[in-house]
Symmetry: C2
Amino acid sequence: MDKTIGIFGGGQLGRMMAQAALPLNIQCIFFETNTACPSAALGPVFSPDKQELNAFIENADVFSLEFENTPLEQVDELIQSKNIHPSRQALAIAQNRLLEKNLFKQLEIPVAPFIAVNSRDDLHQAVESLGLPIVLKTATGGYDGKGQFVLRTVEDIAKAWADLGHAKPLIAESFVHFSREVSIIAVRGQNGDVKTWPLAENHHHQGILSHSIVPAPNSKTLQPTAEQYISTLLQHLNYVGVLTLELFVTDDGLYANEMAPRVHNSGHWSIEGAVCSQFENHIRAVAGLPLGSTEVIRPTVMVNIIGKHPNTADVLSLKGAHLHLYNKSEREGRKLGHITLMPIDDRELPALCHALAKILPEPLSLTTDMSW
Amino acid sequence: MDKTIGIFGGGQLGRMMAQAALPLNIQCIFFETNTACPSAALGPVFSPDKQELNAFIENADVFSLEFENTPLEQVDELIQSKNIHPSRQALAIAQNRLLEKNLFKQLEIPVAPFIAVNSRDDLHQAVESLGLPIVLKTATGGYDGKGQFVLRTVEDIAKAWADLGHAKPLIAESFVHFSREVSIIAVRGQNGDVKTWPLAENHHHQGILSHSIVPAPNSKTLQPTAEQYISTLLQHLNYVGVLTLELFVTDDGLYANEMAPRVHNSGHWSIEGAVCSQFENHIRAVAGLPLGSTEVIRPTVMVNIIGKHPNTADVLSLKGAHLHLYNKSEREGRKLGHITLMPIDDRELPALCHALAKILPEPLSLTTDMSW
């Protein structure tokens, strides 16, 4: 192998990064507690439980991550001698909603009004100045809807504080009235090149991404704005690798929700649907190689497999279906794999989606609008 | 993992099969002398040198191969308890040019006139009845032009016999006057379904495949005939998995050269260029899963990297270039990797090929005809 990339985390994102790295003669190794993780099929796993951080650092040439909550102390350890992409700074900002929202504001990327909350008094003042409803969130930690409290009445202040007060610093945010959620994914190379994939339209079920449609229907006028926002972030942070920006579509245009300093579930379609996938381009960027084209081959729908596995043969019988399993055991709410639908004729997509919905053990609420 | 496939051989074909198997939660294991082989990144390697055949057999559910000269005694061992796809019969025929050519004849697939040669007298008679020039080949063994002798004059008989007589049984074949070489690859599922990829036009340099153009230019009228030939073979052999048939294009139509009971170098383009690749469809067939579509996404040129590695960054700078390295060290005439060119606009292919030729350390003689 020509190069070794050390990846913090060993889940499905690491697995798919390593799959993309292999044909480039790039080996991935992983830092992950669960040594039987999805990435383990593709490279050695070093465990924090066995104090293997030093061995992990010694065995790789350069570092990246698939787990955005990678502890900064671990990163501090490695940057004494080696590089990590994205940088510690980008990671620190993405790990803290307050830093993140302040950065969006500073770069003139629209966000819902927000206020830092460090006491019950702050929360009262937030309700007063932002109005109700608001969402109270921990500034750090939390994902897939955890660590959040929605306040609808003044009585909720006490409950919200009882629930999350111990986890301060907190952030109170106004609700955004949006018609849909989209995300933009971009990659920046070490030479400053930026490439952007088209917007994905994302549909959630119980707080977890259910499926993404790419390109997002009727998004031609939104694309340039989203590209401008994410390019501004990439340049400002001198970012290297893949960055994801989640956005709300509102009557007033796009509002930023949050960024993820990594490859993203809403970009899994790109394995088949783009000339170069988010995984390969992230690896190329981290390894200092030229970026590949992010052009779309044809429209796709990516559907997550959550909680229970469908019958493999049923899925593979669908025309243009690509199955990606993560070698994980079944558990409620767990992402076990995904399916990308990419028929030669994209007019077949809605029918294919409905056929897939019948096969999946978990319900799939499909949108009907798939006009590009 | 849901299933384990044991593969005889551990080269780049096994590596790419295992890469295709992974997202289906199918693990591959390998039987291979070189335990640091290209496939080793994706699964355990069992060594014949360490008498690990039994362990290899115990650890897999079903078997396949990437090495067509897999010893039949090893196959005999496993078929006492488990299945191999393709079958022992198909493998035995593909390993013996005489059996193979006789089968082609029996199935009315045109072949150049040939005669079995077991003595110097036989060789004299072959020259008399076939005329000169002829090619004398060992019936078993030999690849990439090894184990062959071209006879142009009567004086060559003695030399040819001195060179190959010890390696009988031999086969003497008439020369075929062909304008180009093509190959057809097809897959048959356990349920009898057959799917065929389009013809590849293959260009060789010093007996080794240099590059393939897919679909083969101006091949629309040849495709149905080639499909009929390979389908006849698949059905006759009750074949499961991928089969390749190499063909000559002559003034009298297609002539069969040889078959390979496995995925083939001229099908590497299908990783990016087809809805489902030869590797994934082979794995699907061996695992008893439904086959994927073999439709072409867009025209491609696949170029082998032989002997020396090009600069990775130079290759990745080419628009629509996909690099596949096999993690092998440099050696003259050795296949180290391949590059698939698949720009969004296929009119750019000729220029891209010429740009690639400048980057490759070894010469690449490109054809100029790329009209589809």
